[in-house]
């Protein structure tokens, strides 16, 4: 029986005797991408699919999300799973504000992406009305494979992100457009 574990490939760089020269952005991106700690903001049915993703069959922990953090300060990515109603929106915003940079947001499910089936007076039609979102995972509820795919896409985003992005004028403008 062969054990084929896919190790994460090192970034491009110059290898020499006892040294490896590469760009700081690549190394930092690699480290961040493979150790994203999620904050599961599970509100409804998508939360149960998240539980299935964290369980042993579809194990999200092998992507680096071994420790789910419920404290916003210690989490990297906010996974919003489930319907966010207008009553809940200020709380979601407060949780997002408490997260420290760098932070990413995944909107899991149709309700978090755009309100889903519930086009009503009490449901927020998508969390991007209150916080900036990086990855949208459609589905009602999305299969665990789709949630894992969403996390992998986020990993690609994180790997290629510049370390200066959080101070750049575009990012500050993005946050200002949400009044953050």
């Amino acid at each position: 029986m062969s054990t084929k574990t896919n190790m994460v490939a090192p970034p491009e760089g110059v290898v020499g005797e006892g040294f490896f020269a590469t760009k700081l952005n690549d190394v930092v991106g690699l480290a961040r991408a493979n150790s994203l700690w999620p904050l599961p903001f599970a509100t409804s049915c998508c939360g149960i699919e998240f539980m299935a993703t964290m369980a042993s069959h579809y194990d999200l922990a092998r992507f680096g999300s071994e420790r789910v953090s419920f404290s916003p300060r210690q989490a990297d990515m906010l996974m919003v799973m489930g319907t966010i109603s207008k009553k809940m929106a200020p709380i979601l915003r407060q949780v997002y504000e408490q997260m420290s940079e760098p932070r990413w947001v995944i909107a899991v499910g149709a309700c978090a992406s755009s309100g889903g089936v519930f086009d009503t007076y009490s449901v927020l039609q998508g969390i991007d009305k209150v916080i900036p979102v990086d990855v949208y995972v459609p589905g009602c509820p999305p299969r665990p494979e789709q949630i894992v795919d969403g996390v992998m896409r986020l990993q690609e985003l994180v790997k290629t992100e510049s370390t200066r992005r959080r101070n750049s004028p575009e990012y500050i403008e993005l946050l200002a457009s949400y009044n953050l």
């Binding site: 207008k86 009553k87 309100g115 086009d119 009503t120 007076y121 009490s122 449901v123 039609q125 998508g126």
Partner: protein
């Protein structure tokens, strides 16, 4: 073994004569109507009288009939259940459309506390004597009562959906 509906009807009519009306079996649940000022007495009677013994409140909800006469626009529906005789009963009261109010039964049945709050939240029916009548499911700041028929389902302020594609404009 169920209680005969004739016996229930007789007992209630005997005590409350002109306040109750419209007895009948709706599919498999025996139901009748009560005037809104005597609802507490009727429910207390049904609970404590040993022949009827409807000791469990299954459900309490409201219905809005804007097309009825002004005196009958809101309806509060109570479902009671007697587990020992396995009989259900439905009681309906009609309320005034402009000022719907009715006595609360939250001291008779503890489970009606939140059910009455939900009915108030959705329809604006005032339950007099309720310990904490405030909104339960919607936001506290909301002023209108969303389950009334005139209130629209969709949020009018939403920007990402175009009503034309949902068939909800004046032309469709």
């Amino acid at each position: 073994m169920a209680i005969e509906t004739a016996i229930i009807q007789e007992k209630i009519e005997q005590k409350f004569a002109n306040k109750v009306s419209n007895f009948g079996m709706q599919k498999d649940v025996f139901s009748f109507e009560v005037t809104s000022d005597s609802i507490r007495e009727v429910i207390l009677f049904l609970k404590e009288e040993e022949d009827t013994n409807f000791h469990f409140l299954t459900d309490l909800c409201g219905v809005h009939y804007p097309d009825n006469m002004i005196d009958q626009q809101f309806c509060v529906v109570y479902h009671l259940h007697n587990w020992i005789e396995n009989t259900r009963i439905r009681i309906k009261t009609y309320l005034n459309g402009a000022q719907p109010e009715i006595a609360s039964i939250s001291d008779i049945f503890l489970s009606s506390n939140w059910m009455e709050r939900e009915t108030y939240d959705f329809y604006g029916i005032n339950f007099m004597g309720h310990p904490q009548l405030k909104r339960i499911l919607n936001m506290d700041e909301m002023v209108s009562f969303p389950m009334r028929k005139e209130f629209p389902m969709e949020d009018n302020g939403r920007t990402d959906k175009d009503d034309r594609f949902f068939g909800r404009t004046a032309n469709c």
